[in-house]
Structure formats: C-alpha cells, structure tokens
Amino acid sequence: MNKIFYFDNAATSFPKPQEVAASIYEYIQKFAANPGRSSHKLSIESAKKVFETRENLAKIFNFENSEHFIFTANATESLNIVLNGYLNENDYILTTFLEHNSVLRPLNFLKKTKKININFIEFCPQNGIDFDDFYEKLKDKTPKLVIINHASNVTGKIVNLNKILDLKKEFKFKLLIDGAQTGGIYNYNLKEQDIDFLALTGHKGLYGPQGIGVLFIRNPEILNPLKFGGTGSLSEKDIQPEFLPDKFESGTLNVVGIVGLNEGLNFIDKIRISKIAEKKEKLTGFFIENLKDINEIKIYSDTKNNSGVVSINIEKISPSKISQILDKNFNIATRPGLHCAPVIHKKLGTFPYGTVRFSFSFFNEIDELEYAINALNYITKNNKN
C-alpha cells in the first residue's frame, strides 16, 4: 500500500511504537495465562505484567499507590463508572460544552432515571470554558460533581486544569476529568493536583492498543463499582471486595491490552511528555500558520494550549466530502463530522455537518503536513461548487 498520511490520532494513534506490537505477540506466544487466578508460573508472570503496568501508570501520573489506577475498556467505561457509581437521585452537577457523548449520554440517561440536575459552564473559544461563569455558577450552588473534558477532541483546546483546581479548593466539589485527549500529552501530577477521578484511554496519547482504558480513583470508598463479579480474591465471600484494585476489576482483565499499554507508557516515559507536547505544538503551529492565509479555509482551533488537533472547513464543500477527497486522492486520513461531541459544534456554528479534523501524533513530521497543506490548497483551488 502507498504511504498513508495519518492525521486521525485523536481517534486513535497510529502507528504505535514497535515495542507495543512486539510485546503483545510475545505475551500471547509465551505466557498469556490468567493473572491473579492461580499460583502457577505463567499466571504469576501474567500478573507481574499487570502489576508492572500499574506501577508505570503511578510513575508517569505521579501518584504513590498504583492500586488507585483501575483497568477498564476505554475512557468511556471509566467515565461511566464514575457517573453511575457516584451520582444519586436529584444530584446537581456542573459540566461543559466541550464534552464528548461519553459524558453527555450517560448524564442524559441519569437525568431521566435519577432526575439529576445538569448545568453547563459557558463556552469560551480562548479558554474552552468561561471561568467567570464557572465561578458564578459555583457561588450559586455547590455541585456534587464537576465534569470537565480536559481537552476538546474537536478544537484541541486544553482547559487550564490548575485554575479549576484553585476553584475546587475554594468550593470543595468533587472533580472528574476526562483525560481521553490529554493522557500522554499533558503532564499530570496526581500527588499535587487534587483530581478525584481521572478517566483515560490507552490507545491515543498513551500509544497502547485499543480496548484498554484506565480510571484513577483517589477515594474508592465514595464510589460504587459498575461491574461485580470474580476477582480472584476473597473467593469464599459472595460480596464484592472493598479493596483496590479488585473492587472495580471484576472478570478477567484485558492483559493483551495492558501489556501493549505498558510499552506505550515506556515509550512516552523515554521520550518525555514535555517533548511530545513540544513536538505537537510545533506541528500544530506550522499547520495553522500555513492554512490561515487561505481565504476559503476557516480554522476552528488556535495554537495556544492545543493538544495537537486542528479543525477546519473549506467554503462550500461539506466536511465529509473534503475528508473523502483527502482519503481517495491524497491518501490522507482525517475525521469529518461531529466527532461524537455535538454540543461544542453548536457553539462553533458547525452543527450538524461538523468540521474536518486533523490530529497529530509524535510520529508525524513537518513534511507530511506540507503535503496535507498542498492537498488542501489544491482542493480549494479546484473546487467547482
């Protein structure tokens, strides 16, 4: 196959570091036994891989006890665990217009089933959320939970987390951060940053395979599990263990995914998150700089605090058509449409057709971006509509 110019890393990062695939192959070939269910050598080897990955998460996200990192299927499951396991009848919650359907849909379900009260912090293109409005809403009523998408998967805007944490200190709410787009891009320090729940996925900025996610839980006693079942521990009891990580990890784990994630984590640890962020900043800056002089192109992202995502539209061509031409004629992979985040598109004025999203990874290079810019120039000039 001819070279694919892959700019859909906010959906899933590709390619993965070589070690990710190699470790999964080795695991399946050599010791893919069930971890924590037996005491034979292979089971222990498998459990050691799970343990090592958890320890790696604790190191990279800077938290002392690795059992506070729970393995899930993806960020969506991590978010669902918190929303379903923490919110009760008539609870008041505050969230943002940046949210993905992984937050909006469970919240709307809970609105129906538990009559929760949902309020939105005003949108602000420069900062993602309007902090003055946030402050006013907190003054009006303290929410049981504040849910914030740390970086919009549509515009790439990273919200100022430390400013949110200052407000948390003052108003004492619990905080759920959706880190689907920021894990491996933003340098979290969970020892210092008082985030109650951090939802992550393994297959984007953490460079692991699909199907593995993570949830950081600071205080497990305030949260109910979503799943109950076998954990390999306390088998004589027919009630769920209360200790971590078992309380939230019923059923056989996705060790194949965990093993791959571990190598993704080793990769970002070796490169350093600050270097990855720096490279993304360079790519995003170059792309935006070169597109902004093309009159027919409207850009919905800016270079300040960007996770490596640029959303655009070309006058008089639908996003799906642009993405189709890029794929078919130029081998360029992008994502058109609403990106599972309908409410921010309403704020941007791009609902219901959305935008064309370019999202970069550490593996992208400037010459690939030059190729994409030339392709967009060509499409713009040759648009017959």
Partner: protein, 83 residues
C-alpha cells in the same frame, strides 16, 4: 519454610515483593501452603526468620494489609502470628 505472609490479592503480593526486595530481604513467591487460607493463592516466603520484624515494619509503613504465619513443628501446622 519457616514463615510466610499472605495478602488480599496478587497486586499486594507483588507490591510487597518489590518493596521487600528493595530493602534487601530474602524472599520467594510460593503457592500458599494448604493449611493456610489465602485469598489469592500466593504467598511470600520469608527466608530468614530474623527479618520478620523488618518485614512487619516495611509493610505497615506502606499500608499493605497482610497476615504472617509461622510453621509450628510440634503441630506440623502454620500458625497465624500477626499482621
């Protein structure tokens, strides 16, 4: 085999293994002896009984729940001595 420690789950067994090795304590991961009721099927054997005090201190400092069993030759049985 003179003394063993057991924990709630394999995560804590592996966490204790990492910690105890770091402190230079000679240990081995073993399947739990049949006389001891272990939750996760695995145990840590403490090679030198005189390390038990240190083991106790290290695990408590790191807030790891555990139980210690010592082999009683007269009874031919493991007896719980603390945790």
């Amino acid at each position: 085999m003179k003394a063993i420690i057991i924990m709630d789950s394999i995560h804590y067994i592996l966490k204790a293994e990492k910690l105890l090795k770091k402190y230079g304590i000679k240990i081995d991961l073993i399947p739990v002896p049949k006389e001891v009721d272990s939750n996760c099927g695995n145990a840590i054997e403490i090679k030198n009984e005189e390390d038990l005090f240190k083991v106790n201190e290290i695990l408590k400092n790191h807030k790891i729940n555990f139980k210690v069993f010592k082999y009683n030759e007269e009874l031919n049985f493991f007896v719980e001595i603390g945790g």
